[in-house]
């Protein structure tokens, strides 16, 4: 492979239109449930060029999986309320009748699911699972589809592909199954691949090779990829751009390098801090993010991260921050008191002085798992007190 074949040196093959492959604007997916409306994705916009990788990062419940499924329109059921716009090659996906969507699935866009233990049908042979959609979409004959499938299984480095063709999923290891899932997703040559936590269910030793495989396939096929993960480490070296989601909204977005060098949102920082570091002594306690993801039915007023944020000030509890540009760059974030700013530092000192638990936790490197109780209220009260004290001092 030539040395120039790197991410940055990638060129658009001739003959392809120059418009972005995917343009999402203010996409919302709400679920109507008995308890109310779950705002799982609440106004997300993004743009993805051909052949590029976007990393979508967030905790469980941040809406990242629902976002991927919303773009593909895989959220099925009467309780799904979708609005906004998602244009794929200039075509509005949300306007396509649901009955026509299967024509796009597999062919134009495909998905690799999280858990290969459950995403393959246990009673259907691998071979049929890799060939059935090739045959359905392309009308390929059985023997041609088999040849294609075996070539595909070989390309995802399944040893003895011919023999595996007749195997059942339970006869393969987890890593092998995820390779099969990738082969299935790639079978009809999609232009856009969603990888929904493709390595979360796998052994650490296997994770790396699966990620490399995805990257290699993506490069060879000039395919765009949206990689959904809760682990910033997974997308660190692999995504062109990273989008951090919290409570169904984008809280920060930047080219990968920029994000790691100059993160602005406290949530991004918290995610970063939660990655265990090799340099730490063994048995160092993991730095968890205090509190739980927000209630998506009754989200808190103001910034949805404020109840868990170490930097939160009074404004954060009242007014939701808009997504704003860092001047002169393609870096955006949604925070009143961003990381690295003077205001942010002051807010943190103030919260620390008021013994706001999550600030104390950061300062002392202590785990806050025992603070999950009434954190929200405690934080709000502490911040309000601190602000009042400040004001009293000022006058």
């Amino acid at each position: 492979m030539a040395k120039s074949d790197t991410k940055t040196a990638r060129l658009v093959p001739p003959g392809l239109p120059n418009e972005p492959l995917l343009q999402v604007k203010d996409l919302k997916t709400h679920f109507q449930v008995p308890a109310g409306i779950v705002r799982a994705v609440n106004g997300v916009s993004l743009t993805l060029d051909r052949g590029k990788t976007l990393g979508v990062v967030g905790e469980s419940g941040s809406g990242k999986t629902v976002l991927a499924r919303s773009i593909m329109r895989l959220n099925l059921g009467d309780h799904v309320i979708a609005s906004g716009s998602a244009k794929f090659e200039g075509k509005e996906l949300l306007d396509i009748p649901m009955s026509d969507m299967p024509d796009l699935w597999g062919v134009e866009m495909a998905m690799v699911f999280q858990d290969p233990m459950t995403s393959l049908n246990p009673v259907v042979k691998i071979g049929r699972q890799v060939t059935e959609h090739i045959r359905h979409h392309h009308g390929t004959s059985k023997s041609d589809a088999k040849d294609a499938a075996i070539a595909l299984l070989k390309s995802v480095r399944i040893p003895e592909a011919e023999a595996r063709f007749n195997a059942y999923p339970h006869e393969l290891s987890g890593g092998m199954r995820q390779r099969v899932s990738i082969a299935i997703a790639l079978a009809c040559g999609p232009k856009l691949l969603f990888a929904d936590e493709p390595t979360t269910a796998l052994d650490v030793t296997v994770q790396h090779s699966i990620l490399n495989l995805l990257a290699q396939q993506q490069r060879e096929r000039y395919m765009a990829m949206i990689m959904v993960t809760h682990d910033l480490g997974v997308v660190a070296g692999r995504a062109d751009e990273i989008m951090v989601m919290y409570a169904g909204k984008v809280v920060e977005r930047a080219p990968t390098k920029t994000l790691f060098e100059d993160m602005r949102h406290p949530y991004t920082e918290a995610l970063m801090r939660s990655i265990p570091k090799v340099s730490e002594r063994s048995h160092t306690r993991l730095s968890a993010i205090a509190g739980r993801p927000p209630d998506l039915i009754n989200p808190p007023n103001g910034c949805s991260f404020s109840p868990r944020c170490a930097y939160a000030g009074p404004r954060c509890f009242e007014e939701a921050p808009p997504l704003v540009d860092v001047p002169g760059s393609d870096h955006q974030f949604a925070c009143w008191l961003p990381v690295g700013s003077e205001e942010g530092k002051e807010a943190f000192e103030r919260n620390l002085a008021a013994r706001v638990p999550q600030a104390v936790a950061i300062a002392e490197g202590r785990v806050t798992e025992d603070l999950t109780g009434d954190l929200e209220q405690a934080a709000a009260e502490a911040v309000a007190e601190a602000a009042a004290a400040e004001e009293a001092e000022g006058t």
Binding site: M72, L74, L76, P102, D103, L104, W105, G106, V107, A110, M111, F113, Q114, D115, T118, S119, L120, N121, P122, V123, V124, E132, H133, H136, H137, Y168, H170, E171, S181, I184, A187, C188
Partner: protein
């Protein structure tokens, strides 16, 4: 897989031995003299006849010897001869089994072709209008005893419109249409309850299967809904159905006393009932062994069906 099937067959033979021994010894424990049971009530009870009977039924041998003699004959297809009219038990089974078996299989066939699609619709569109109608009808089916259904069918189809014969049986060899006409009503009477049960089973299992990740991933490949339902969801959803199907078939092959009686069908159930009333011990014993045998054989087939339907059971071993 062949090994697993073989082990099932070995188990089948052992079970058959146990079942036949149990039936044999239990019937020997019945109160009253065996000679009394063997002789028709009005027959003379002189010592010669008794000695003859004891000789013929090996009654002077110890019990285990009696059993093995009986077993030896049974293996060769001779389940004994009834003292009532000298009918051979095997002959009776051979005459009557085709009727009972046809009735059983036709009713199960009716039930399956109706219940499977209904169950799938119910699972695919839960709480829809169609689903509530299906559930409503099923509720009626499940709470109607089959003799009631039989009576209604008889009234409507035979008495009112004269479409089908009321009673009796035309053998398949005599007339195909006649045979079909005589099987439809009894089979339907049996099928309605089965339809209700199978529909529920399929619906429940299918609803669970449709929540599985592999169904979403099959959809995400762009496969048509019908293909996903039948080729991906149905098989993993059919295990409970297969279990109940086996139990039902076993029961039906043992004869459906009430339905055979109502429609005047010369099946196994009717014979069993008649033999019990006339205290025809030899016949009862032969039929009982045959019926338990059908159960055991069917259940072995069901075990093998599991292996075919769910490949995971092949390596795990059930």
């Amino acid at each position: 897989m062949a090994k697993l099937i073989l082990s099932r067959l070995v188990r089948l033979i052992l079970t058959l031995l146990a079942v036949s021994a149990l039936t044999f010894f239990l019937l020997k424990q019945l109160p009253g003299s065996e000679i009394d049971a063997l002789l028709p009530p009005n027959a003379p009870r002189d010592p010669e006849t008794i000695a003859l009977l004891e000789e013929r039924f090996n009654l002077n041998d110890p019990l285990p010897v009696q059993y093995f003699k009986w077993l030896g004959n049974a293996v060769q297809g001779d389940l004994g001869t009834s003292a009532f009219g000298g009918l051979s038990v095997s002959g009776q089974i051979k005459d009557r089994l085709p009727i009972t078996a046809e009735l059983a299989f036709v009713s199960v066939f009716f039930a399956l072709i109706i219940a499977v699609p209904l169950g799938i619709i119910g699972a695919y569109r839960p709480k829809s209008k169609t689903d509530s109608i299906i559930s409503g009808i099923n509720q009626v089916f499940i709470s109607s005893p089959n003799y009631l259904v039989a009576a209604v069918l008889l009234y409507v189809l035979s008495v009112r419109y004269g479409l089908l014969p009321t009673v009796g049986w035309t053998r398949l060899g005599d007339s195909i249409t006649g045979n079909l006409k005589s099987v439809i009503m009894p089979a339907l009477s049996l099928a309605l309850l089965e339809i209700a049960i199978y529909t529920r089973l399929i619906k429940t299992d299918m609803s669970a299967t449709l929540q599985e990740d592999f169904i979403l991933s099959a959809r995400a490949k762009g496969l048509p809904n019908r293909y996903v339902l039948f080729r991906h969801a149905l098989r993993p959803s059919s295990l409970s159905l297969i279990t109940v199907l086996g139990l039902n078939l076993g029961a039906l092959l043992g004869g459906t006393v009430v339905i055979e009686f109502i429609f005047g069908l010369p099946g196994i159930g009717g014979k069993l009932l008649q033999s019990v009333f006339s205290r025809d011990v030899v016949m009862v014993q032969g039929l009982a062994v045959f019926i338990s045998m059908s159960y055991v054989v069917i259940n072995t087939l069901i075990d093998i069906a599991y292996l075919v339907v769910d490949p995971r059971t092949r390596s795990r071993g059930v």
